[in-house]
């Protein structure tokens, strides 16, 4: 401190000013920030701790409340007679062996084991000493040393040691025995054997008691819904002991770390926890435990399906990935099935994924794939291209081989060297054989090409025939706004200028084929209506406008078809949709077949239906003059418009057969970087309103495809082209779900569902089924509602309910694959008598003939077989021939009053078949599988719910089934299984036998 002078002075601010307060305040702040940092680290950044504390509290309360209920239920079961009986038996069994068990336990525990332990200890000392010396021998180089060591071992083996062995009688007394190594070894091994023998004796004695205990516990677990009291106590104990901390699943191979269960603690609890059971929905258990059972979270994690940021535990927003910078935000509940698509991308039907399935089906049945490629959709056209490429390659390889062969032969002829010339000949021979193989391969490919050409189908109808098919003036009106004419039509609304409408109409009109149609007189409209409503047209087509609409939505609503379609064309189309006007541009064998199947109607019937449909029209509206459609200049301008709007994506148009798709490939649209989705002028709005995401983009785009054009200053042709499908909210959501799941997955193969076994057949089959709308008539999956089931006639009248097309839940188990293939190829099962159903002629609805290729027939057959786990290839079961006596019994059973089979089953006699509601027995042997038939006889209702076939025809008698009704005379003496006898009888029925039966009746 400098000395202060006496003079008047000012205090020196540097030396005199105290900074204690500043220092104190800043130190306090610093310390405070340190405390804050610790608190932040321990509490704020670990919000799951709070969740876990709450979960423990609420869940134990929940379990404690649950316990008495479950305990009461358990008690109730314990009090049941059956349980009591088994318990008593168990107790008796245990009582019977109790003394024996006690004796065995005593001998083992007190006698053998103490002696064994003592012997083992002594034995092990010597053995380790010997083992150590052996090792020294093994590593020693010196022969002398080795023999010394061997001597030492021999000395140990001969050494006599005193061992204190407790007596084996369990008295607890100890004897001292002098033993060598060998004695000890013998003693030790002997005791081990003795112990094993005692133990197995114990197990044998308890066998009966254990069986009864299993039975008793089985009874309990079978009857008790939910957990038992002991299990609940176990859960409570676990809960008390469980430490607070991060709960995570770590999958090494995909580098996935999911800590979701740090907060979602109830997800995998064995008790079902509802949304509000523990106050907060976060604690509810997984709503679909079945799904979790297939996708074990320990193997799949959570975020692999749900998306979100599995590592983040700081906040809900971060964990769910609802964050600008997290590229895989968690799917919203309405789109949760998008997660399935990531791995189930090869399927069109995923069981349980109803929204996703709807989305895929819409993609298929709204024709999205006409413009937008999506892997799997319209795969046939790509395969066709590939096959043709392969054929070209093979042909050129063949030509090259042929050339080389000729050269080799020449060289062989001219070569002076014998050995060399033989080499050349051998080479020529090899090439000749190679070419033979190539020929075979080419033939296979050609078959494949024909198959594929038959399968490739554009989405919309062919426009090559509009001159014959449609009313000229109607065409521009339709193109302008299809939904005006036919609301909900699959043809979407394009934003066309009037001149474009005229140009396109003119182009299509002038490029359509010219041809002749057979002239038909009109038929009976009333009969036509009946046929239309019952033959099966309404499985796909609907009729009636607005609220009156009934029938399927797969194909067009025909309410106003009379205004547009030419009658003669309609007759031809209904009679045989594959009949077309010859098209010089396409060879007949490569001609695409329509999706509409052949209903195998007579011309007269077709005429009746066409007459009925022609009457389906509003009061004739005058269409404006369309003479511009004949103006060649218009047509020329139209070509550009047709190309621009991609009409040929969905329609066959003359001159545009090879036209490609105009839209973007959507296979991986869900993982496209967000920046590449053009929100245009809506970007800022989307960011502010929180829909700047894939979901937001898809939803807005689907709702209004021109949305992102709004406000843009653009030429007409530069505007967005995607037409408006006027989709409903649920359809938009389904398609959004599908597109969100359409991602380039990073999961390795074992995570993706791409089976190569029978399940692949199931996947492949669904594609054909969806494309051909088999579910419009048949129920193929439980819960699937066919179009028929929505038609009032079938829902209201029980007689008509029996007319529903058959359910196909277990078709693969029911029928033989070869028969199924031939049935699908020709459901009439006859080449001559085609105007009928081959199996169920009593149905008004007709199984139509689809234009399936052989490949598709094989796929469909394999689909049904695979779904019912049928072995491939199918081996026909051997069937024991009927003896004369058996035949007679079978005949009696068949015609007994209690089982009047022929009352319902067809016989082929028209007068009798009027009331038939079941197939003819004559085709059973060829069609059915005996094993299935046997089960069907016993329990038809569990195979086809709601079937008219009566159940409980048989009852159990010992180890055989006997007829439940009054048993006919001869059958009483028959000692075999009646159901089996009937099956065999049925399979060996011929028309003579059938006639005899009819006579008997």
């Amino acid at each position: 401190m400098p000395r202060a002078k006496k003079v008047q002075t000012d205090p020196d601010p540097i030396t005199t000013k105290s900074y204690s307060v500043h220092l104190l305040v800043s130190m306090v702040l610093l310390t405070g920030s340190l405390v804050w940092a610790v608190y932040d680290e321990v509490e704020v950044m670990r919000p799951y701790k709070e969740y876990q504390a709450r979960f423990q509290a609420y869940y134990s309360r929940f379990l404690q409340e649950l316990r008495p209920q479950q305990a009461a239920k358990e008690q109730e079961i314990r009090n049941s007679a059956e349980y009591q009986e088994v318990s008593a038996e168990l107790e008796a069994a245990e009582q019977a062996v109790r003394d024996r068990i006690a004796e065995l336990d005593q001998r083992t525990g007190q006698g053998v084991i103490p002696r064994l332990t003592a012997a083992r200890n002594a034995f092990q000392v010597l053995r380790s000493e010997i083992d150590a010396l052996r090792y020294l021998i093994e590593v020693s180089d010196d022969e002398g040393e080795r023999s010394d060591l061997r001597e030492e071992i021999a000395e140990i083996r001969n050494r006599v040691v005193d061992v204190d062995l407790p007596l084996a009688d369990g008295s607890g007394e100890v004897e001292e025995v002098a033993m060598t190594f060998e004695d000890l070894e013998r003693e030790f091994l002997g005791l081990q054997e003795e112990r094993a023998a005692l133990q197995s004796e114990r197990v044998d004695a308890l066998t009966e008691a254990n069986r009864l205990r299993l039975e008793r516990d089985g009874l309990m677990s079978e009857r008790l819904v939910g957990l038992g009291a002991a299990q609940i106590d176990g859960l409570l104990a676990n809960l008390r002991d469980s430490p607070i901390g991060i709960q995570q699943i770590h999958l090494m191979d995909i580098d996935l770390v999911d800590r979701c269960e740090s907060c979602h603690l109830g997800i995998r609890q064995p008790v079902e926890i509802g949304r509000t059971d523990l106050l907060y929905p976060v604690f509810q258990s997984h709503p679909q435990p079945d799904l979790l059972a297939i996708h074990d979270p320990e193997a799949f994690g959570c975020s692999s399906c749900h998306n979100g940021n599995g590592r983040a535990t700081r906040s809900v927003t971060k964990g769910h990935g609802r964050h600008k910078f997290w590229l895989w935000p968690m799917f919203y509940p309405e789109n949760v099935e998008a997660g399935c698509q990531q791995c189930h991308s090869k399927e069109i039907v995923t069981p349980g994924g109803e929204t996703l399935n709807q989305g895929r089906e819409l993609y298929m049945n709204k024709g999205c794939w006409g413009c937008h490629r999506f892997e799997g959709f319209d795969a046939e056209s790509e395969q066709l291209t590939q096959v043709r490429q392969d054929m070209r390659n093979l042909s050129s390889a063949r030509d090259a081989n042929a050339k080389e062969m000729r050269v080799s032969l020449d060289l062989g002829d001219t070569s002076p060297d014998r050995e060399a010339s033989q080499r050349y000949y051998a080479r020529a021979e090899e090439l000749r054989l190679t070419n033979t193989r190539i020929d075979a391969e080419l033939h296979t490919l050609r078959t494949e090409e024909l198959n594929l050409a038959r399968e490739v189908k554009k989405f919309g109808p062919s426009l090559k025939e509009i001159k014959l098919k449609d009313r000229k003036e109607w065409i521009p009106e339709w193109i302008k706004d299809p939904h005006e004419f036919r609301p909900g039509s699959k043809m979407p609304v394009f934003r066309l200028l009037d001149e474009e409408v005229q140009q396109i109409s003119a182009y299509l009109w002038q490029n359509a084929l010219d041809g002749q149609l057979v002239q038909h007189p009109s038929g009976d409209a009333e009969r036509g209506r009946e046929l239309f409503e019952t033959r099966g047209c309404m499985g796909c087509h609907s009729i009636g406008e607005g609220a009156e609409e009934t029938g399927g939505t797969f194909a067009a609503n025909l309410s106003r078809v009379g205004e547009k379609m030419n009658f003669d064309y309609m007759v031809r189309w209904i009679h045989d949709p594959s009949e077309v006007t010859p098209d010089p541009a396409v060879p007949d064998e490569l001609r695409p077949r329509p999706i509409m199947p052949n209903m195998r109607l007579t011309v007269a019937e077709s005429r009746d239906i066409a007459t009925y449909l022609s009457g389906q029209a509003r009061d004739r509206i005058e269409y404006p003059d369309a003479s511009f459609m004949d103006d060649p200049a218009m047509a020329e301008a139209g070509l550009a418009a047709v190309r621009h709007y991609g009409c040929a994506g969905c329609h066959e148009i003359s001159g545009l057969e090879g036209e490609g798709r105009i839209g973007t490939d959507l296979t991986f649209e869900g993982s496209k970087p967000l920046d590449r989705l053009d929100f245009a002028l809506k970007t800022h709005e989307a960011e502010l309103e929180g829909w700047h995401s894939h979901k937001g983009f898809f939803e807005h785009k689907l709702e209004n495809p021109a949305f992102f054009d709004e406000g843009k200053e653009r030429e007409h042709l530069e505007r967005l082209r995607m037409p408006n499908f006027n989709l409903g909210a649920d359809e938009i959501n389904a398609l959004t779900t599908f597109l969100l799941g359409a991602v380039e997955t990073t999961f390795p193969e074992q995570y993706r569902f791409e089976p190569e076994d029978a399940r692949a057949d199931v996947q492949a089959g669904w594609w054909i089924i969806t494309r051909h709308n088999c579910t419009g008539c048949h129920q193929i999956r439980p819960g699937n509602v066919s179009s028929f089931m929505t038609i009032p006639r079938y829902t209201d009248d029980p007689d008509w309910a029996e007319q529903l097309p058959p359910q196909l839940y277990t078709e693969g188990a029911r029928v033989q694959p070869n028969w199924l293939t031939s049935f699908l190829r020709n459901p009439a099962l006859s080449d001559v008598d085609v105007n009928r159903n081959g199996v169920r002629d009593y149905l008004h609805a007709r199984m139509p003939t689809f234009y399936f290729s052989d490949r598709q027939l094989a796929k469909l057959t394999k689909f049904f077989m695979a779904r019912d786990s049928q072995p491939v290839p199918h081996m026909v079961e051997d069937m024991e021939p009927l003896t004369q006596a058996e035949r007679s019994v079978g005949r009696q059973l068949f015609t007994s009053d209690a089982a009047p089979c022929l009352d319902c089953h067809m016989t082929g006699v028209p007068s009798q078949d009027v009331n038939a509601t079941a197939p003819n027995f004559l085709i059973a042997a060829e069609r059915l599988k005996p094993n299935w038939t046997y089960r069907w006889l016993l329990e038809p209702a569990s195979i086809a719910p709601g079937t008219a076939m009566p159940s409980e025809l048989f009852q159990r008698d010992g180890d055989r089934w006997v007829f439940a009704g009054e048993i006919p005379q001869q059958a009483r003496q028959y000692g075999g299984d009646h159901a089996d006898l009937l099956t065999r009888y049925m399979f060996q029925m011929d028309s003579a036998e059938l006639r005899r039966l009819q006579a008997l009746q």
């Binding site: 002078k5 020196d12 540097i14 900074y19 800043s26 920030s33 340190l34 940092a37």
Partner: protein, 311 residues
């Protein structure tokens, strides 16, 4: 005025240092200059009063009676530094607790973000790329900045102003610093952070960063404007223009260097090499604002186009 956009930009954790810089740099410049002016007054006083200068060890202005003639580093300086360290640590603690690291989505090599910005301390360099050939802006200029900073002690022949704030004795150095660092470097960082939006377009604060924004801007080389179309005339023309700039700005710098008696004395102490280096660095530094002005006001892309480099 899009307040939301403005807030989005200034609240980005990445941009916090820049927003802080907007206030801190003017403050410390003012604070330093205030002390420098105070010291200048003291120097004036001491120059006038030789007696006072002899006894006046502690250079404080105005010096009051009773004040210590000298103060020790310990404890008087160190306690202040300690206090400052505590406060800075406190600020850093709070900062690190409240603001997370500005991490974004995982890098995607096939996708460039827009705008794609360098870390804040490199934004000045990135901004230079707008005005110069990448070779000049990315390699030559940064190298010269570092070389120039290293060279300062060797070309600075002014013996005064060490260890205390002064304006009068280091007028040239202070103005060079203010021009080179605060005006050029810092403002380019601020432009890069707050002004440059999608497409590296110029968005005034408060304008919406619209990814769809299109502006009509055609930058042309100077020779195109003049109408010279072929080499070597293009190169010769550009060389003449750049040579002219060097001559004019060299002359202007020389006028500044020799503006006062004081600076002429300093110049007299310098060797020719020192002077040449100083001139080179000054001319290149001056070229930056000239080029910025040429680009922003006259849409001139390059002045000197040669097959090897463009200026």
């Amino acid at each position: 005025m899009d307040w939301h956009q403005l807030w989005t930009i200034v609240s980005l954790p990445d941009n916090i240092p820049i927003v802080g810089m907007l206030f801190i740099i003017p403050f410390f410049t003012w604070y330093g200059l205030r002390q420098a002016f105070a010291n200048d007054r003291l120097i004036q006083e001491l120059d006038a009063d030789k007696k006072l200068a002899r006894t006046h060890h502690r250079k404080a202005h105005p010096f009051k009676k009773g004040w210590a003639r000298e103060v020790s580093v310990w404890p008087y300086l160190l306690r202040m530094e300690f206090l400052a360290a505590v406060i800075v640590t406190f600020i850093l603690m709070v900062w690190s607790i409240t603001l997370d690291a500005p991490l974004e989505e995982p890098a995607n090599p096939s996708l460039t973000m827009n705008p794609s910005k360098a870390p804040w301390y490199f934004l000045g360099l990135q901004e230079m790329l707008v005005y110069f050939d990448p070779w000049i802006a990315g390699v030559v200029m940064p190298t010269l900045i570092i070389v120039g900073l290293i060279a300062i002690p060797y070309i600075d022949e002014n013996p005064l102003g060490n260890g205390y704030y002064t304006y009068k004795q280091r007028r040239f150095a202070i103005w060079t610093f203010i021009f080179g660092f605060i005006i050029l470097w810092c403002s380019m960082i601020v432009i890069g952070t707050l002004i440059r939006g999608p497409g590296w377009m110029w968005f005034w604060p408060g304008m919406t960063w619209d990814h769809n924004r299109l502006i009509f801007e055609i930058n042309r080389d100077l020779h195109e404007i003049i109408g010279i179309t072929s080499q070597p005339w293009i190169g010769i023309f550009g060389g003449l223009v750049v040579g002219g700039f060097v001559a004019v700005s060299g002359y202007a710098c020389h006028r500044i260097i020799t503006a006062t008696e004081f600076s002429r004395n300093i110049l007299a102490r310098m060797s020719l090499l020192q002077y040449a280096i100083l001139q080179t660095l000054l001319i290149i530094m001056l070229a930056l604002p000239v080029k910025i002005a040429a680009r922003l006001l006259f849409r001139i892309k390059y002045v000197w186009v040669t097959p090897w480099f463009n200026v």
